[in-house]
Subunit: 555 residues, 2 copies
């Protein structure tokens, strides 16, 4: 049978299978069968359809029809970006380790059920893997849920742990890459799990994020803080029905980008809240400040009669005391509009915003001046329109306390058996800020601290190729731990070799010439900048002393 | 409307949609519509079914029904494994950088079509993302194809590049985790792209992998080398039909695990090769050696009349010359049975095997003594049975030359416009080997070089809690770059604090006592082991001198 005939046969077999599979599904649908019975049949239908589609593709090898790009919302990291990324990560790691954190890693995908019910309205942004038989999995959406799963799996060893985790997470969000919002992006998380005295670990998380951003040279950031218990108490005393609390909470969270009128309209018109209730909420959530605001709330008769509010206010009192010792109270804005979208927070919540994205006059005691509302966005690519606040455009770090998440996994009778608090640094915006600085420096012709390539020595031939000899010299250098390269040509041109040295700014050139080589010597030239090295022929060094000569010179 | 009623309504809406979607599909199937028209409708059916399934799940928060595990074939990295991983990666990175490589990164998933047609029989192991609307994507299967895609996208800047890439790749393989075979695992790749003189970059790749494994302390490994052109020539002169070359090639590749009789049987019975052809192949592919084998082949009249063989043999001649200069010929076994499964190799191919997995007596000139055939495996989880040779159990590194892969992407008229060669270190087996050494050392009570936690100072209270004071001291230490911790309790017990110092082997304890604190001093005790520190009360140090005192002590 010819290949063509075999293929034709496979195609028609597929079509028959599809028809019978559709018949089976129709029966199941008519019988109102359980979804669990329908799902695998649909998966089977899909795999047959995929097979059919593959058979129908003409096998054109080397076809240029391929779209040469990375998937939407993702990007490559070129050598310069990678050098910067390594610098940023090692800076952040140093801070995390200084506070005694160990590090862990988890798989890039988790069982789908592990992620279910953790992210509120954002759950629709989770990437699923295709059902190819076996378990259903999803790409991790953050590092917090995998961490809680890890702790729940290892309660004895890691029921009390301070860990950091730097890794990629995935969100099927509407990308805005110029703003640093990607579908694949890094998070740098620092979390403390374990039963400790109130607000002590929480305060350290804020201290850690401040040190990390300071170490990266990020200036003028503000840490907005709020407390879920205070917020819930406010909603309760204002008369928000229990089942509307989360949705009203997400509306409030938009106050950093939309004016109060717009948020009020959403509450009343879209979410069916009573106008008077909304107005009362407005008297609270438009306030922010520092100790002054805390003092006002502590005087609020209605609020202080609510048990949850009292707990929240006591926490804030302690927190401010600790942050004073850590000397970061001047970075703090106690902001009653901060709500955070995720389901799992139970106590203190916080978000770090950069000056650039903060409204004018923003600061610990300034009057609230909301930025203009964002422009309405167009639907594109048949994907859902995503609200900008979902990821937090101006935010460069965020986190909070989540005391029940580990308990949700371990099924412990005590839901807060392993209370946790943590902070996540969203480094993409940090990268953007720092990359701009590097490009500015390069434009001014300055050398930057971040080097892509670390080669110290270029081994070159001054005539006759001397390929084996250049290899031999490189081998000597490599064995001594010296970073060295040569041109992979049998007879490289002199100019081509010097071009590499100049372009890569390699500090030393080792030059091999047939005559000197015969006498056991090579010539070493240190590149000190164009003026000085112009007519310098370099120093003659016996081959046997070359490594020690260079090791001494570079020291 | 009650929540229950709303849900009921949503469920019945879903069921109606499913029925109408099935109707639509039946029409398409009857009309024999193009797969491209059917696929999106099936995807839509699937998303409705998913919705139905989600609606049918009872919203039990905190339910303990969740399976607490990582997905099949994946694992968590605990703090000790992470410390080892960091050690391994930095060791390998140092070698790569020594040879002048820069580093890049690519997204964890690529457009599906980028990966299509690159992996031969192994394509079935690719993980696909679910079609959630938008582009079809797959998790990367290796780092080579993404690298070629990156170079093809940036031909001017990176048409000539030496880069390394350390990242996770994904294969839906049958996991054998005790053997270090995972579905999510790391590869450490070093590749050289660009037009250079023959075998010079190839030889450096072998030099690099040797240096990396030596630096990691891996002993007794062998580098098997072969050449695709020689292998293809052998198949041609033995009379293998053109369209059977790849499948016969994979059969030959199994000779490292199966005896010749078994491989011959597969060729003849399963793949329909003529018995005489198989026997003639057997006279070649059972041979391995070093220069001696090369010399024999150079004398082979039939082989040397084949143009491809001549090219391959000339390459090997050059390679051996260069490897002599790099002093690694003693690691090399020229092995005619090495075929490598992937489609994209065009020239030299190689695989590094550890002594443990090599057959007894294995070595550059020893007689071939194949290991026993692997036990037949059971099907599990409804997934396909995977041949063990697909991933190469005994192999810890592999690679080769792939001159046409970039051209496949760029659609260039010259398919080898950007020739490449590279090597990939499979670190999972390296981790297993090194982790075993650490556990052995721990069992002997020895301290290991790999530390999980780097804390230098533990700040403790000798009475009265002194929480704010301990915070203040830690803040001073952190500001000086000293790694410090304290217990997150208001009034920690003395014993609990000493327990941390002992368990974590923290070098310094800074002790705060109310009386001394009032006079501006603290006590510093260096932990030197149990005997010495037993009755030592430590040294009294003025608080203002504490940082400089500790910085000096640790130096």
């Amino acid at each position: 049978m010819s290949q063509q005939a075999a293929k034709q046969e496979a195609v028609s077999a597929c079509r028959t299978q599809i028809e019978s599979q559709l018949e089976k599904l129709r029966t199941l649908a008519t019988e109102q069968a359980a979804p669990a019975a329908i799902k695998p049949e649909v998966a089977l239908l899909q795999s047959i359809t995929d097979q059919l589609a593959e058979l129908s593709v003409a096998p054109k090898k080397g076809s240029s029809k391929i779209t040469l790009k990375t998937p939407k919302g993702t990007r490559d990291w070129d050598p310069l970006s990678m050098a910067l990324r390594k610098h940023v990560f090692s800076t952040i790691e140093r801070v995390f380790a200084k506070h005694g954190a160990v590090t862990i890693d988890t798989p890039v995908f988790e069982l789908k059920e592990i992620l279910a019910g953790k992210y509120g309205e954002d759950s629709k942004l989770i990437y699923d893997l295709q059902d190819q038989g076996g378990e259903l999995c999803s790409l991790r959406y953050d590092l917090t849920v995998p961490f809680a799963r890890f702790v729940a799996m290892n309660p004895t060893e890691y029921g009390s742990i301070k860990r950091y985790h730097i890794a990629k997470v995935y969100r099927r969000d509407q990308p805005a890459m110029t703003k640093g919002r990607f579908r694949e992006f890094y998070q740098c998380d620092f979390d403390i799990a374990g039963t400790y005295d109130a607000m002590v670990p929480d305060a350290e998380c804020l201290c850690v994020v401040t040190e990390a951003l300071d170490a990266l040279g990020i200036e003028g950031f503000t840490i907005k803080v709020n407390h879920r218990k205070i917020l819930d108490a406010i909603f309760a005393i204002c008369g928000v029905p229990e089942d509307k609390i989360r949705t009203i909470s997400s509306a409030v969270d938009k106050l950093d980008k939309s004016p109060w009128d717009e948020v009020r309209r959403e509450m009343v018109e879209d979410k069916g809240l009573d106008g008077a209730v909304a107005d009362k909420i407005g008297t609270y959530v438009q306030r922010h400040g520092g100790r002054d605001l805390l003092a006002q709330l502590q005087q609020d008769a209605e609020l202080t009669q609510n048990a949850r509010a009292t707990e929240g206010l006591a926490d804030m009192e302690l927190l401010f005391q600790y942050l004073d010792v850590y000397q970061i109270m001047d970075r703090i804005s106690f902001d009653l509009s901060l709500a955070r979208g995720l389901d799992y927070y139970t106590g203190l919540i916080y978000e770090v915003v950069t000056a650039a994205s903060a409204p004018p006059g923003f600061g610990a005691n300034a009057a609230l001046a909301p930025a203009a509302a964002p422009k309405p966005k167009q639907k594109k690519d048949g994907e859902e329109e995503i609200d900008e606040s979902a990821v937090g455009v101006g935010s460069i770090a965020a986190g909070g306390r989540y005391d029940n998440l580990v308990g949700m996994f371990s099924g412990s009778k005590k839901p807060d058996a392993v209370p946790c608090v943590g902070v996540s640094v969203g480094v993409e915006r940090v990268f953007s800020i720092l990359m701009q600085r590097i490009r500015d420096a390069q434009a001014r012709g300055e050398r930057t601290a971040v080097r892509q390539k670390e080669v110290e020595v270029f081994v070159m031939s001054m005539g006759d190729g001397l390929l084996l000899e250049r290899m031999q010299v490189c081998k000597m250098l490599w064995d001594s731990g010296i970073k060295a390269e040569f041109l992979y040509k049998k007879k490289p041109k002199l100019q081509a070799q010097f071009a590499v040295v100049d372009k890569e700014q390699i500090p030393f050139a080792v030059m091999l010439a047939p005559g000197e080589w015969a006498q056991g010597t090579v010539r070493v030239k240190q590149q000190l900048g164009k003026e000085e090295s112009g007519n310098d022929k370099g120093e003659e060094v016996p081959l046997k002393d070359l490594c020690s000569y260079l090791l001494q010179k570079r020291a």
